[in-house]
């Protein structure tokens, strides 16, 4: 059934008793052409693109819990393509373009809201860095505007302009950036992939790889039995090292916890996405009214999916430094996600040294915005055995070669990215 206002109205007449499942509850088949490990946004988008663009429909997505239970369902929903370095910039713009057509492509309203992403700067040095970045974006055909203090004040007058420790001097604005409803992205890809024949198998944990005499991966062992595969793609950011270890691989990745926060719902206050340039704080407001915000990672290796108090305080201090009108708004809920922190802050999408095993990992805290492009380029890699043209630099051997894509310039120190 195609989703539309008309199908909704028709369904209403019958009391909404006839909606089909959004995706089938598939039983695992003995073998698939491609098995994707990880039913998050990236895994589901990969399956969707394999079926939709590359005609590979005998595909299973294996999810150890419920789809979207990893970082797809724990992020702060920001989409943007305001990157700086070759390798990242074209890739994230590809993603932005896919966001722009996603709802029609998937027949699912993922609430892509191009409300603008505003990165504030507080010094000449930051302005210069944003000028470099904004110009790089423009050279790549991406929208970017450099705003001065007056223009920022006009756009977001409720910020702290008058007694700030680090006064706002201006901002870099990407109007096409914004937010999307994270769960809906998962469900939309699941829905669309399912309609193309992809099997989405929940509560199916991969416990090992099946390998032939030559070492090639030919399937996976799971909590629901052995499943054969022509190729296996890993899209399990947060757990990449653990899954890779089953194939005896060590990765240039550490797992860290990133906390995120939502306030009680309030009437519309923040029109766009704002990042504070002098502290660890960024914020947007959900359509439901909650302020969705976050800051820096906790800074230590963790698989606990929960964080500690210093970061909570640090983030709220940033919030109150930037916008002290939220002092009486209450923090409703905080949570933590496990980030695949790579050694240069950029992702890895590549074949692995193990035949038949493909890697999509290292998303740090930027994976959500990458979801559609990640799916597309990973599908391309799985289908063609060569990197998509917008993913040629996301190679696993770039660290060995010294070709890091280090936007923050922090080096091989994941907790600083």
């Amino acid at each position: 059934m195609k989703y539309s206002i008309f199908s909704l109205a028709r369904a209403a007449l019958s009391g909404h008793k006839k909606w089909p499942r959004t995706w089938r509850d598939a039983e695992p088949k003995p073998r698939y052409d491609v098995v994707i490990i990880g039913g998050g946004g990236h895994g589901l988008a990969t399956a969707y693109h394999l079926a939709a663009e590359y005609g590979i429909r005998n595909v299973a997505v294996l999810e150890k819990g419920w789809i979207g239970s990893g970082n797809a369902g724990r992020n702060t929903t920001i989409i943007r393509s305001n990157y700086l370095l070759p390798g990242n910039i074209g890739f994230y713009e590809l993603s932005m373009k896919l966001w722009e057509t996603m709802e029609r492509d998937l027949n699912y309203n993922t609430m892509v809201s191009q409300r603008g992403v505003l990165n504030l700067y507080h010094s000449d040095a930051q302005r210069d860095a944003y000028a470099r970045r904004g110009n790089a974006m423009r050279i790549n055909g991406i929208d970017a505007e450099l705003l001065d203090r007056t223009a920022v004040r006009k756009m977001v007058p409720f910020l702290n302009f008058d007694n700030a420790r680090f006064p706002i001097e201006g901002g870099l604005l990407q109007r096409r950036g914004g937010t999307a409803r994270h769960d809906a992205v998962v469900w939309g890809y699941a829905h669309a992939a399912d309609r193309l024949g992809v099997d989405i198998i929940q509560n199916c944990e991969v416990t090992g790889f099946v390998r032939d005499a030559g070492g090639r991966v030919t399937g996976v062992e799971t909590s629901r039995g052995k499943i054969g595969a022509g190729k296996v793609g890993m899209a399990v950011a947060g757990s990449s090292s653990r899954v890779a270890a089953m194939a005896d691989l060590r990765l240039p990745i550490e797992s860290h916890v990133l906390q995120a926060f939502v306030s009680e719902g309030i009437k519309p206050l923040i029109p766009n996405v704002i990042t504070f340039g002098a502290g660890h704080f960024y914020v947007s407001q959900s359509d439901k009214g909650g302020l969705v915000f976050g800051g820096d990672i906790d800074g230590y290796n963790s698989y606990a999916q929960r964080g500690n108090l210093p970061v909570v305080e640090d983030v709220c201090e940033g919030g109150m430094a930037l916008m002290p009108i939220i002092g009486r708004v209450r923090l409703l809920r905080q949570w933590g996600g496990i980030m695949d922190m790579s050694m240069d802050g950029s992702p890895i999408i590549d074949r692995t040294p193990v035949d038949g095993l493909y890697l999509n990992a290292g998303w740090c805290y930027g994976g959500f915005k990458a979801t559609p492009a990640s799916g597309l380029v990973f599908a391309h890699l799985l289908a063609r055995d060569e990197p998509h043209k917008e993913a040629t630099r996301f190679r696993l051997d770039r660290f060995r070669r010294g070709a890091m894509i280090d936007e923050k310039g922090q080096g091989a120190q994941p907790n600083l990215h």
């Binding site: 090292s241 990765l251 990745i253 797992s255 290796n301 606990a304 060995r400 091989a412």
Partner: protein, 91 residues
Amino acid sequence: MRIACPFCGPRENGEFSYLGDAKPKRPGPDAGEEAVYDYVYLRDNVAGEMEEFWYHGGGCRSWLKVRRNTVTHEIFSVEAAAGAGAAKAAS
């Protein structure tokens, strides 16, 4: 999180900064690029017990080796780095 500095006693984690896995050892001068690459970039990224380096920069400035579970955050032991204080290490 609280870490019991062997010199200062238990302190809140705001006093510490983190480096990461203490297992990789810096290769000697002639170990070659591959060994240094491994040291700098590759991690076991253990889900479970791990020895790691923390720096008590907000206190006594000692580097510490902390054995901690990365899943539960439980800390099992904290010891000073080999060269903390005036400790004389074999060269």
